[in-house]
């Protein structure tokens, strides 16, 4: 079954979003906190292609829309407008038939391993449910074989765990099992929503290695959501940086980490803890998506950006190509419009600016 998947040509988009937008209404009571805006654009006009067999990380702080984007693709949130194509076919999220077909191809791992399992369902049963629902295993022997295979694939012992209940498991075991459960239906795409942020540091690398192995051996495409660029760098081929529901920067992981062009990417870089040395987040940076003005003509990041100028208020910056597969939406660092390449010494200035915070 897996061999068939690998024979399909590599580098074709398995997921393609077109102008995907999700808006949430703001209730009257809390409208003031959002500056009187009626809607929050959690995801705004996102065009993203995910190629088969790659690991894409979506990075951004809380409230930047990364989770909403992934949940929309997975059919857990209804899009306000725009479309999602999976394997070249548009998914109609209103049809339960389409959803079932989607979930056969795409599964999700959730952030909190402690609340993702039904406490009254044994490990065996938790993994048996998707297998039965999607009609993968028809008889008991096959079911048992499949469950054993899946539990062992994530590095756990079937003998020990099959009859355990979730309360007897540690956080790391639970997160492994939730990966096993997602993999039970042999999906082509796995969406992992902050799978390691609730786990101890010592268990993180095990989960990251497991996801990396699944990608390398089984060709599973992974959309990995995280707030930490250091984690994203470890695992992904490409990094997408989001803020206020829009893509700020997208590019190969190495390039984004070593030459971040968007001011927001640089802020995320500076906030990431260094093992030896100080974090150099600008002193007055008050990361807050609540400051974002959604009816504003200009750049989403303008209200938070220490580099903003008049140009930024006039029009929304578009994603401009700055390198192989590397796109940045910033009018200041990318000289938008005249097609010239950004000057490296200018960038260094920007970086220095962030280090000193003045």
């Amino acid at each position: 079954m897996l061999a068939d998947k690998l024979e399909k040509p590599l580098y074709e988009p398995v997921i393609e979003t077109q102008n995907l937008t999700v808006r949430f209404p703001v209730s009257n009571r809390i409208k003031l906190a959002y500056g009187g805006q009626k809607f929050i654009h959690a995801v705004n006009q996102i065009n993203l292609e995910v190629e088969r067999g790659e690991i894409v990380s979506i990075v951004g702080e809380s409230g930047s829309g990364k989770t909403t984007l992934s949940r929309t693709i997975a059919g857990l949130v209804k899009p306000t407008s725009g479309t999602v194509k999976v394997d070249g076919e548009i998914v109609d999220y209103r049809k339960s038939k389409d959803l079932k077909k989607l979930w056969k191809k795409l599964q999700m791992i959730f952030q909190d391993p402690y609340s993702t399992f039904n406490p009254l369902t044994s490990v065996f049963e938790s993994i048996a449910i998707p297998l039965r629902k999607f009609g993968i295993s028809t008889n008991d022997a096959d079911l048992q074989h499949k469950i054993k295979e899946n539990i062992e694939r994530v590095g756990l012992s079937y003998q020990e765990l099959q009859n355990e209940y979730p309360n007897r498991l540690s956080g790391g075991q639970k997160q492994r099992l939730s990966i096993a459960r997602a993999l039970a239906v042999e999906p082509e795409v796995l969406i992992a929503d902050e799978p390691v942020s609730m786990l101890d540091v010592s268990l993180r690398s095990g989960i990251l290695d497991l996801l990396g192995d699944l990608n390398a051996k089984n060709g599973v495409t992974i959309i990995f959501i995280t707030h930490d660029l250091a984690v994203a760098q470890c695992i992904s081929n490409r990094i997408v940086v989001m803020f206020g529901g829009e893509i700020m920067e997208i590019g190969p992981a190495r390039e984004v980490i070593h030459s971040p062009l968007h001011p927001y990417t640089q802020i995320l870089m500076s906030a990431s803890p260094k093992l030896t040395g100080e974090t150099d987040l600008p002193k007055n940076y008050e990361g807050s998506v609540r400051k974002v003005k959604f009816d504003f003509e200009g750049c989403r990041f303008y209200t938070n950006c220490p580099l903003g100028n008049d140009l930024c208020t006039q029009k929304r910056p578009f994603l401009e190509k700055v390198g192989e597969n590397h796109y940045v939406a910033c009018a200041v660092t990318c000289c938008q419009g005249d097609g010239s390449k950004p000057n490296l010494s200018d960038l260094f200035k920007v970086y220095k600016f962030y280090k000193t915070g003045s």
């Binding site: 809380s62 409230g63 540091v201 010592s202 250091a230 470890c234 990431s272 260094k274 974090t279 807050s288």
Partner: protein, 322 residues
């Protein structure tokens, strides 16, 4: 400041705490001895279930009913904490030692403004006039970097990082000498994390506080702490100056923790997890408790438990070192 740092504020001596669950003993702290000096920030790291939080709440005499201090003493400013009772205990808590709890995001009352929650805390413990109280609230919010005009906001009107800072301000309400911060940044995104840690650090400079920072993440320690204590399965395995420990870790467990942290910009470094999982404390492994997961274990490790040995810089409990 340097003079002050030689005086111990907190003294743990041979502290042993057990929980009793279904008549089974679960030893959460095993002969912990160390001092916290005045004006320092000390970090305590270890995996879930290693006893870090038990250590923190034992300082406030908040251990749950099914636990018992089997041995040893806890002293804060030469006062024996476990013997405090009634009014003395009430005065000790919060005005001597305050704690920032793990899920600070949910620690605020959603139906009260942050101002009224702070007033309540202050008036419960002191007889200050309304004006004094308001002044203090303005100062405190200012210290933690929140515009005092937000004092009349409800918690839902604040961002996660701001809520956390309000919780820090509340811990400061009664001018404690010591603050215990229990995982103040777990499950908070990196931007908030950096700003919260910066706030905590500024407090030490401004108010001369002593801070115990509890976390499972060793990567935030360099910037924050002066000294670092590493715990494993209820025991102290290594303690010393933070820079020494991170640059030159002695105990294999500390080395493993350091290898598990991803560092931005270093793609050569492969992160390596610690094999296995933390031991069940009701039946811990014999000898050195880390030996089943340790890459350097030899014959002596499973048979006898290494004592914490003083060295030039800090102390280590490992047979390899002696």
């Amino acid at each position: 400041m340097s003079k002050l740092r030689n005086q111990p504020l907190v003294e743990f001596d041979n502290l042993t705490v057990s929980y009793f669950i279904n008549k089974q003993e679960l030893r959460a702290l095993n002969r912990i001895s160390f001092h916290v000096f005045k004006g320092e920030i000390i970090g305590i790291v270890g995996e879930s279930g290693c006893g870090k939080t038990t250590l923190g709440i034992s300082l406030l005499k908040m251990l749950p009913e099914n636990s018992r201090i089997l041995e040893g003493t806890i002293k804060v400013d030469s006062v024996d904490v476990p013997s405090l009772k009634g009014e003395y205990l009430r005065k000790y808590r919060w005005s001597k030692v305050a704690m920032i709890f793990q899920s600070a995001m949910n620690a605020l009352d959603p139906v009260k403004t942050i101002q009224s929650q702070m007033i309540e805390t202050i008036l419960q413990h002191s007889k200050a006039s309304k004006e004094e109280v308001m002044n203090r609230i303005v100062t405190l919010l200012d210290i933690v970097g929140i515009n005092p005009s937000r004092a009349t906001s409800y918690p839902h009107e604040l961002s996660g990082g701001m809520k956390q800072r309000v919780v820090i301000a509340m811990a400061l309400c009664l001018q404690p000498d010591l603050i215990i911060a229990d995982e103040p940044t777990t499950a908070v995104d990196v931007v908030y994390q950096a700003s919260i840690l910066r706030t905590l650090k500024a407090l030490r400079e401004k108010l001369g506080l002593t801070i115990i920072l509890i976390s499972h993440d060793i990567s935030i320690m360099w910037e924050m702490t002066d000294r670092l204590a590493v715990m494993y399965a209820g025991k102290l395995v290594e303690i010393g100056k933070t820079q020494n420990i991170i640059l030159n870790p002695q105990h294999p467990y500390t080395k493993a923790l350091l290898n598990a942290v991803p560092v931005i910009g270093q793609d050569q470094k492969k992160i390596v997890g610690i094999p296995g999982s933390p031991p069940n404390l009701s039946s811990p492994p014999s000898g050195c408790r880390f030996h089943p997961r340790c890459a350097y274990a030899f014959e002596k490790c499973p048979t006898s438990d290494p004592p914490l040995q003083e060295r030039k810089e800090g102390a280590v409990a490992c047979w390899l070192i002696s």
